[in-house]
Symmetry: C2
Subunit: 449 residues, 2 copies
């Protein structure tokens, strides 16, 4: 029987980060990572395989991260955890004993209950090299692609597919009035839809895919208004569900929809077993209720906490804020914290302010483009609750900047006197700097009412 | 005699921001801004006039900022403040009474005590359209340019001059062992010097300009090692001193080197007079001693505080952290807080950690380049004291992100479990994200020693 000090189950962002974090604290421990995939895809890079990168092989988490950190790798699937013996068994019939176990089993694509999803050339966004290679090959021969789901994964797929010369039509079907509505308020959603339309993508919002039609292969997608869209390929991008199979079969506390239960230290209901990443439950930092923030970045934060806590509590996981960014051509967008519409649903009174200015200064600097910031403050306290951004390539880190202000529980009056650095080639002018000016506008609005 | 409620003296970043801030709080007040320049240059944009922009006229703060906010503009020079009468007089003989006065008189270029500085074609970086037009015209006919001073202004000038086809040699003379040493530690300074050398700029560090030689026009710069450099133009970029002339002549408390004295609310020694920007004294957030952080971004923070406090204290100015960024071609750098060498001078024990990774992910995404982060924590407390960054265009906002963590007094263990957002096209991968990983390395280092 094999033995290891620490066993990590799962080799994506959470598993790798947990393993590396453990190694930093325990230079001498035997750390083993077990995963079922021969090769592991970078999760957020998957859409880019189909346009920018050109092959799944160009979008892999390199195994050198493991070998450099002396982490043993086993390719096999864990089928059961014997909690009493502190041992796992695998589909190859192996048994491995552990001191501490970290579950990072990730998530699985959600398949909607639509007739026809079983037809050939209907794909989900499965994190599997072989599967995505099939999708790539199918795309090479396709003319018409329909993407069901206008969240950021669906839109990223649409934008990348559109880069393929052989495709005639790329269409996105979204149930809600706008794409991206769970992450952003209307203004930014509309901005993104406009950009995607300019790039030749058709967006059908407020529509439900009622059926996927075809004999063996998909031929059409039928909408709830009766419209029939030609489709050689359908991609289902409606979200993910936590992969709790192993937790369920091994008797750990979990919730089918929300994920494996963990405490603030990322411990499961078994004190020797930790969990992190898409497979675990998350709570919204504002409402405390379960939230579906399944992002690789969030997964690595949890992994850094789980990895440090294995042999004694060092860190505590805060509730999830939700920080994300994406881009479509020259338009990048980002969002941190909650949106105005979500605040409304939660019954939280807010004051919002929006400021747009060039992202370089003067605006005549080559490459300058408009960068807009919307900030959202709690009406009673002035606490920063969320921020949304559109602009150029600086949006990713600017969103992190806003995320840091939310995590530090800053108020509007603090944000608007924040010390910042600016440069003609890299940021807005200090006079026009969007984040502080939006906060200033909000401060004055709050005084009035 | 003219009367105004609020009079702002100075029309650059601090003056304009103070005026706009006052307007937000007092929609009905009469606000007047008086400045001596017909047109106001964007201060940080000045170097870019000489390569990227092509003319001072393309680098102006637009007066529409004032007109849109109903701020009256007077072009004239204030020569005296009669504090008892609460009135100023101008060089055109005008008298204007005020309720509250804001001084934003800025800074003046420092002229080194080097023989020959008075020769023709020896220029400082004066914020004056006419003067810089002369420099531009001189540059059009020049072959050899010598820049004295390798701080960021000097280097930005060098890089922009080098874009002019007519110039043969652009040489920077720096007194210290490396350029930029007051803002960054060696590693980044060396990286910038290498980039500038690749771009054809000669950097002579550890050298002092002993004399500027010529008859009427400059012909040579003589160094302390005897070397003589041919020069049609010399640009002095060794820093600025606060412009305290008006404060001095009007009997306000000031220090010739440090600037106009202000309290935490940006009030001068006269309770009706506030001051902000390059003309006021600043204190280092760590040591409390006077610091020479004269950046437009810092000036606007002070102006937002001064502007809000005029008729009752609302805000308090923290000590200055110093956040800046710049770029040379595809290499951008940034720095927030203090450097390792400065910490050493202050006797503060620190733990540092450096992490480099591609700024997109996977690294094969087109346009990806290395982005490195160095963080600096107080050894005893784990408090984040400073951060330095090199990389691509995301460096400006990433530096602000680090600046926000310093201002929020975050510790290493908090930084390394910070929630972040990542995206293939916009940031490093979540596994490799430099800021959190640098903090993690520091945490482990601190445990050991």
């Amino acid at each position: 029987m094999e033995k290891t000090d620490i066993l990590i189950v799962g080799g994506s962002a959470a598993g790798v980060t947990a393993a590396v974090t453990v190694r930093r604290y325990y230079p001498q421990s035997k750390i083993t990572l077990i995963r079922k995939e021969e090769k592991v895809l970078i999760p957020c890079g998957i859409p880019y395989i189909f346009g920018t990168l050109g092959s799944p092989e160009k979008n892999l988490i390199p195994d050198t991260v493991l070998s450099k950190n002396s982490i043993s790798l086993i390719i096999d699937e864990v089928t059961f955890i014997n909690k009493d013996d502190k041992a796992i068994t695998t589909s190859n019939g192996k048994t491995i004993k552990y001191e501490k176990l970290v579950l990072a089993t990730g998530s699985l694509p959600l398949v909607p209950p639509v007739p026809g999803v079983e037809l050939d050339n209907v794909f989900t966004v499965k994190k599997d090299v072989g599967y995505l290679t099939e999708l790539l090959q199918a795309l090479e021969k396709a003319k018409d692609v329909v993407i069901i789901g206008g969240g950021f994964i669906g839109l990223e797929f649409a934008d990348e597919c559109k880069k393929r010369k052989n495709l005639n039509n790329v269409t996105v079907i979204e149930l809600l009035p706008h794409c991206l509505l769970l992450a952003c308020d209307d203004e930014i959603c509309i901005r993104v839809e406009k950009k995607l339309s300019e790039r030749g993508i058709k967006i059908l919002s407020n529509k439900r895919a009622e059926a996927i039609l075809g004999k063996k292969m998909v031929e059409y997608v039928k909408l709830d208004n009766g419209q029939k869209l030609k489709a050689d390929i359908v991609i289902l991008g409606i979200g993910v569900i936590p992969n709790v199979k192993l937790a369920r079969e091994s008797g750990l506390k979990f919730n089918e929809k929300e994920g494996i239960w963990v405490d603030d230290f990322m411990r499961t209901s078994d004190e020797s077993i930790f969990a992190c990443g898409d497979c675990v439950q998350k709570r919204c930092y504002l409402s405390g209720v379960a939230t579906a923030i399944r992002l690789a970045s969030q997964a690595t934060t949890e992994a850094r906490i789980a990895g440090a806590n294995l042999f004694g509590v060092r860190r505590r996981m805060d509730c999830a804020i939700g920080i994300f960014s994406t881009c479509f051509g020259d338009l990048a967008i980002g969002s941190a914290g909650i949106t105005e519409s979500r605040a409304g649903e939660l019954g939280i009174g807010v004051v919002t302010a929006e400021v747009a200015a060039p992202d370089k200064h003067p605006g005549s600097i080559p490459g300058a483009q408009e960068l807009g910031v919307k900030l959202l403050f709690e009406k009673d306290t002035g606490l920063l609750l969320g921020g949304q951004v559109y602009g150029g390539k600086s949006v990713g880190e600017l969103t992190n900047f806003i995320g840091s202000m939310i995590q530090n529980k800053m108020r509007a009056d603090e944000v608007c006197t924040f010390q910042i650095g600016t440069h003609p080639m890299l940021t807005a002018s200090p006079v026009a700097y969007q984040v502080v000016n939006a906060a200033q506008i909000a401060v004055v609005k709050m005084r009035k009412g």
